[in-house]
Amino acid sequence: MAPTRFFLRPVFALVAGLAIVSAGPAQADTTLLNVSYDVARELYKDINPAFAAHWQRTAGEKVTINQSHGGSSKQIQSVVAGLEADVVTMNQAADIEVLVKNGLASADWRKAFPHGAAPYSSATIFLVRKGNPKGIKDWNDLARAGLGVVVPNPKTSGNGRYTYLAAWGYALSKGGNEAAARDFVAKLFANVPVFDGGGRGATTTFTQRGIGDVLVTFENEAVLIDQEVGGDKFDVVYPSISIDASAPVAIVNKVVDKRGSRKAATAYLNFLYSPEGQEIIAKHNFRPRDPAVLKKHASRFPAIKTFTVEEKFGSWDAVQKTHFSDGGIYDQIVVKR
C-alpha cells in the first residue's frame, strides 16, 4: 500500500490541482481543500457538512470542502510539491514547520488561531488486555523486563514520537536527569516486539495479531478500539502523566492568496473552535479546548496531567535534532537493544 500511494500522490496532487484550478474562478461557489493526517478522516467527515451549513447561514455562500488524508509527512510533502491545500490540519507542529521553511505558511502561524492554533489535543495513554493481567498502571511498568509494548516506529509516525517523548518526560518528572531518562526509554523500547509504520498498524498488531501486553497510543485511538472492538477484550489505562499531543492547523498563505479563499479558509478553521465544532471534536474522542464542552464530557475525558513538547524539550526542531535525526539518541538506543 505504502509505495503505490507514495508514487501515486504526485498524480493525485496534479489531478486535484487541475480540478481546483478549473473549478475555481468559473463559478461563485467556494471550494476548500483540507489536507489532513490519517486518523482525522472520520472527524472531518462530520466537520465539513456542519461548516458548510454554518457558512451558508452566516455568509450566504455555498462552500464545498474537499478532504485529503494520509500519513502526515507524505501529506505535507504533497503540499510542498504543489498540492493546492487551502488549509492543513495535522497532529504535530513539526509538519507545519516544514511548510514555513518552504515559504508556504507564515512563521507565526501559532498566533493566527487560539490555543497555539491547535483546536483540540489528545494524550498518549495505554490499552491493555482485559483485566490488566500484567498490572500495568504507569510508564515505569512498561520498562519491566519481559513485557511486550506495542508502539509504532517513532521515525515514521507522530504517534510513536509522542510515545517516546512522553516516556522521556515521565522519567524527567520523576526527578531523573537526562541520563536516567535515556536509560528508561532504552529499556522501554527494548520491550517493543514489532515496529509498525503508523498508529493504525500498531493497533492491528496489538488487537488482531495478539502481539504484546500493552498498546501505547493516542487517547482517541485507544478509546475508539475499546468502543469498537468491544469492552470485553481490552481496558484503557491512564498513566500518571502524559504528553499533550496538540493537533495544529494552519492556513497555506500561498494557496489562499492565489485562489482568493482566505476568508472562507479562516472561517473554516475558526469553526473548529466554535461550540458546534468542539462538540463534534469531543464526539470523536479528541479533547476539546472549550472548557464548557470539555466539562460536559468530563466523564469521557478523565483529568490527566500533561506537559507539552515545548515545556520539556524546547521546540520540535530541537527534539528532531537531538532525538530522531540520524545517529540521534533514538538511533543509539535501538542499535544497542
Binding site: Q77, Q208, Q320, D326, D331, V335
Partner: protein, 277 residues
Amino acid sequence: MASSSNRVLPGFGLSLGYTLVYLSLIVLIPLAAVFIKASSLSLEQFWAVVTAPSVVASYKLSFGASLLAAAINSVFGLMLAWALVRYSFPGKRLVDALVDLPFALPTAVAGIALTALYAPNGWMGKFLEPLGIKVAFTPLGVLVALIFIGLPFVVRTVQPILEDLDTEYEEAAVSLGANRWQAFRHVVFPTLLPALMTGFAMAFARAVGEYGSVIFIAGNIPMVSEITPLMIITKLEQYDYAGATAIAVVMLVFSFLLLLLINGLQAWTAKRTGRAR
C-alpha cells in the same frame, strides 16, 4: 550498420532511436535524478549515511534474504514449471493461473494475509509457535514474503523453454545409454539453465526492491528485521531526501553489479551449451 543492411525488415535506425529515447525517459532520467539528489551530500556525509549500523544491517537482510528467496524459488519454480509442462492432471489450468496471482495481488494485501497466517495466533503460526518457530515479525517472515512475490518470475521464464524442449532429446540420451539422472543433468538442465538464471535474476531484483508485502510481516526491528527500502521510506518520512537517495544509490549500484554478474554468467553458460545468440 553493415549488419542491418542485409535484414529482410528495415528499421534499425528507427528502432534503435526509439530504444534509446524510451530507455532514457523511462529509466535513465529518473535514475539520474536519484544520483543528482544524492550528490547534494558531501562525500563524508554520504558515507556516514550509507554505513550507519542499522543501514548496513538492512543491506545484509535485504540482499541476503532476496538471494536466498530467489534460490529457493529457482528450485521449486523449476519443479512447478516441470509439472505444468510435462504432465497433465485435473485442474492443471487452475494451478497454472494460480502461479500468476502473486503478480496481480496488491503487495500490501499479500503482506497482511501472510502476517495474519504466520502471526502467533494465525492459522499457521498457531502450529509453528509451539515448535519454537517464529515466522511473523522475524527475518524468516521477510524470506517467506519474498519467496511469495518471486515465484511467478522463475516459473514463467522456465515454462516456455521447457515447452520447446522436445522429449526426443531425453529419449535419445537414454537410448544412447544415459541413466535418468544423466539425461536430466547433461541434456535437460543445461538447456534450461539460461532461462532459470533469468528467472533467478528477475525474482532477485523484484525482491530487493519489495516493500509493501514485507513491511507487515517483518516486524521492522532495528538491526534485526529492517529492510533497506524501509530505511529509505524512514528518511523520506523525515524529509531527508538526500539521505534517502544516498541509500537508494547504494542499493542501485549493488543490484546493478549483481544483475550484471548474473547476466554475464548467463551469457557464459549459453555459449558453453551452444545456445549463443
